[in-house]
Symmetry: D2
Subunit: 336 residues, 4 copies
């Protein structure tokens, strides 16, 4: 059994991560920390962990582990990276701190200057694009949830030079705002919204640009779900047919355990919809063309799973030499 | 036009009150205060007031008015009552501070000791039970939302001596928790709940007891709506038939503008359901018997309307000698 | 009092229309018909009409009126137009049958061939673009809900030649699917969806193209609200600044009673969101630029109000020479 | 691997059952039937089964199996019981047909006369009360969802003679109405309801009476969740303290794998709430006393899991001699 620690286990991502790890066949959670909840039972924050016996500790008391997940607030990883690296040979980061390789992008989107030593390479935690690097890496940074959906749904086109600048229309449920999200995310004010909270310039946009190698513009709307992220993008594909496009996706993703091509001519579930992905680690992707040279590319995920904790466990499996799907086989709960 | 001021206009009740007053044919809002938002446009907190031109002021700057609504946090009215009374001959209080006449109940449920001078009589703001007192009163205290539903649905039985001790099962949407309601009322954590947050001893229970003159026990469950309160109570009615019970309700409420008896043998809307009352000032009540001496008594309201701001405006109309239904004729929005 | 009849009063649009007409100061509803519900009280379908005394009749029994609304299923108006025209000098159609002037578009999007006599001119029921024609018209066709939001939000750009082909991203709540909407719109299956049900070619797309004079492509996603439509569109505006764009919108809409420009730098309600429009007849529009020549244009409405019944009453007011805002002043219910 | 067939696999219960069985370590699904969907892929109805390769067949083509689940509409089991019994030595019934042992109750609540041969004994499928009988049984009938919650939460009191007549207040999400649930359960009409659809006499009431041996009266309210059932009951416990009551529950349930006693003095998750049980097979129970001789007894389940498919698989495990928790260890998804 591999020894795993989670730093910052109080938020929704931390809770989901712990749920996955506690039921994982080859790892054990040796420590969970929370700056604010040290000493309390983990189940007080995360009811699915009732009976787990886990209790929050302090980060200062962490002992060595085989791998440490960093799931604190954005900005916290940069501060504790050296300490963490001294305790574990492998680190999976769930904050935004090292998602971008390009320091200029980092400064533009985050206003953060990255000093030399912290430019230590983190591999982008998308096994579908970087499986071998992740397996060999000591440090992996899990991408943002909307970035994950956009990148995976558009990558086959990018790989074939079919993308130029792209507009991504992203929709996100409320769990993406975290466990302490303020009055604007209170139930009364967030229920039923179509709140365009980032017309342009959302931070995940930078990740899409960097990963796909094209200029991306992302518009983000807060939607009424708790879980779920969906991204749409319209792409000019000229003479390329839907059949050819579907062929590209099949070619790239046929063997992927967590990417499914969803494109049904009929029925209720014709295209990627986060509604059917709750609790699963799938990224469903789809593409349709309109007969006039335009394609609609769709991606959907459970933002706390493939968009965060699930993706992180998938990376962990690769980094520890375990089967990639261990702990991640839940097929989604439906209807909820 | 009567001059009206609202103290504490930033919360949901304050916003609803302002919406009603701004469209009221015989009053004008001369001031709205907020301790935290003085200087800002009211529409930043309450979008339905876009274009009203209202701006939050400071309570200290209030000028005389014909009637002042006190809609601050619970506990605030007791502190500012004398100041307010010096500015307006009539006060409608929407906090809990003077809902209970019995000082012992107040102490038991709120832990507050009421000193002599503040024992100044407030009339209970339920026109259906106290219309004439309200019309003559200088000070009216609007009851709690769940109390309103329970009292109005059970009053015809209480008036006829058919109630002994009662158990009230109350369900409440998230807007009842106010505009700043903490992490437990965040969208992610409050969505989809059936959270029994007060198994016994909720403060509104005391109002029911006092108003109906019987010992009441209330269980409160937080439910997934934003707006809406429903109360159920089972009552032993012995040999009294459903027909006779319905007759009692008709007798008491036939002329009431805002109480409707809802009891349809068929259809989707057979009994009181807050779903069909959104934005309206109605309290729908219903009663069914089981053929074995037991009756189910149901009440439903929009908690921000009949359960707070709507009820308050209804009282204001009476206190100012205006037609009771002025500003309150919206029939409910459906479906939402 | 003008005499008004409603044909097809059982659906959501019919119910909303009746709610507005019953509370309208200058009209009376003289008849409501339903093919399936003749003989039943209208309140069995529409609870806000409790106490109205309205009862469904048969279309065959209609008597002359000043104006008749046709709110049946799509396709029904074409069949009964002549009969209806014999009963009333003025008709407002809420079906899709005469929304498109171009017979070729009609055939392409609906598969319907329009024969000569039925090419009788219907004016597009958007007062903001066609106020004088509507006031003079005998026949007005209210546009589709998503078309209304897209057209009003993009019209100022179209009028200034700033639009070329456009992509419209439309999101719609479940009430748009009507009162009998099948298993796919059951609560269990529709809750929490992000269902792209029309990637391309939605019928409202044709209306946008025709009204704005540019080729439009519309993608429609079913979202978890009951009420509400939002449309987004990204437009290349080159060197035109946000300030200049906002100026265009102000110029066109400053005097419009039901179009508001919403563009706040801060706060919870920065851009058009149907959440704050429930029950209101407003169309909120907004525009933001990204500093790189691209603008995001947003529109939001309550689909049953400005997108159907509210827009229809606004047209009726103009057609009957009444003040345009009569019966339509409800400012929106918030929060719900 | 045991061979399992599912008759009636198109509804929500059927889908959930298949999801559990497909991931179960010791069984294989050899056939799934649907009267209306024979020939189609199962994933068209149940997206979590994407990739399973399962296809609906016809009941007439069923081959022998080790155990057959009957998950059709109520009333269907009685008709096909003999046919089914000829194919499999063990049957788990998820319809209501054989839930009641008492033929008189059956006739009163269902209006069904049970003829002699079909009085064949079915064991009540509640392992917590009947583990040994289930393990030895050929035929097991899974109780109704609300009955399950009520029975398990009240059984410790019934076993100790502390119950007399009881009133059960039951709340149920929309998935309990099934996959084809009509206009009243459309998203627009079911969202946000508090619909008392059974003030008295719900069929599950009969099961509670029979299982607990006391007269039960159940009031059922349709609530806005998709999944989840909660039952509350107030019980006069006289001098028995909360501590003693909790002791009884611990005594009875300490070793139960799927019943948890939830009673926290503080925090967001103090009492049983279906919100935290989504996808899990737990029944959370709780009890609080008010200091005046009254106890509030609470139960919560995921109605499609412990209230149907999960409970059925738990019975299957016992009937086949497998570990009771196989296939049922998912701890619940939170937040959703």
């Amino acid at each position: 059994m591999k020894r795993i620690a989670v730093v910052g286990g109080r938020g929704f991502v931390g809770g989901e991560l712990l749920r996955l790890l506690v039921h994982h066949p080859e790892v054990e959670v040796t420590a969970v920390t929370s700056d604010t909840h040290a000493g309390r039972a983990v189940e007080t924050a995360h009811p699915p962990l009732r009976g787990s016996g886990l209790r929050y500790g302090r980060r200062e008391d962490l002992e060595p582990a085989d791998l440490i997940f960093l799931a604190g607030v954005h900005g916290s990883t940069a501060k504790i990276l050296d300490d963490t690296a001294a305790l574990a040979p492998k680190i999976v980061d769930l904050t935004a701190d090292f998602r971008l390789a390009d320091a200029a992008l980092m400064e533009r989107y985050y206003g953060w200057r990255r000093d030399g030593e912290h430019a230590a390479p983190f591999v982008r935690g998308l096994p579908e694009l970087h499986r071998e690097e992740i397996a060999a890496a000591d440090r992996v940074a899990v991408p943002g949830c909307m970035a994950t959906s956009a990148i995976l749904s558009l990558a086959p086109l990018a790989a074939r030079g079919l993308l130029r600048d792209i507009d991504v229309d992203a929709r996100t449920g409320s769990s993406g705002s975290g466990a302490s999200s303020g009055d604007a995310n209170s139930h009364a004010l967030r229920s039923g919204v179509m709140r365009v909270f980032a017309p342009f310039g959302h931070r995940h946009e930078a990740e899409v640009s960097e990963a796909l190698g094209v200029a991306a513009s992302m518009t983000v709307t807060a939607t009424p779900q708790v879980r779920g992220v969906q991204t749409l993008a319209k792409v000019d594909v000229g003479e390329v047919s839907e059949r050819e496009l579907l062929g590209m996706y099949r070619e790239d993703y046929a063997k992927e355990p967590f990417v499914r091509l969803v494109n049904s001519p009929r029925g209720t579930y014709r295209y990627p919809d986060p509604k059917v992905l709750l609790g699963s680690n799938f990224c469903d992707v789809g593409v349709v063309v309109d007969g006039r040279g335009k394609a609609l590319v769709m991606g959907s995920i459970d933002n706390l799973m493939k968009g965060a904790a699930g993706g992180a466990v998938q990376c962990m499996n690769l980094m520890l030499g375990l089967p990639e799907t261990y702990g991640l086989t839940f097929p989604g709960l439906h209807p909820v």
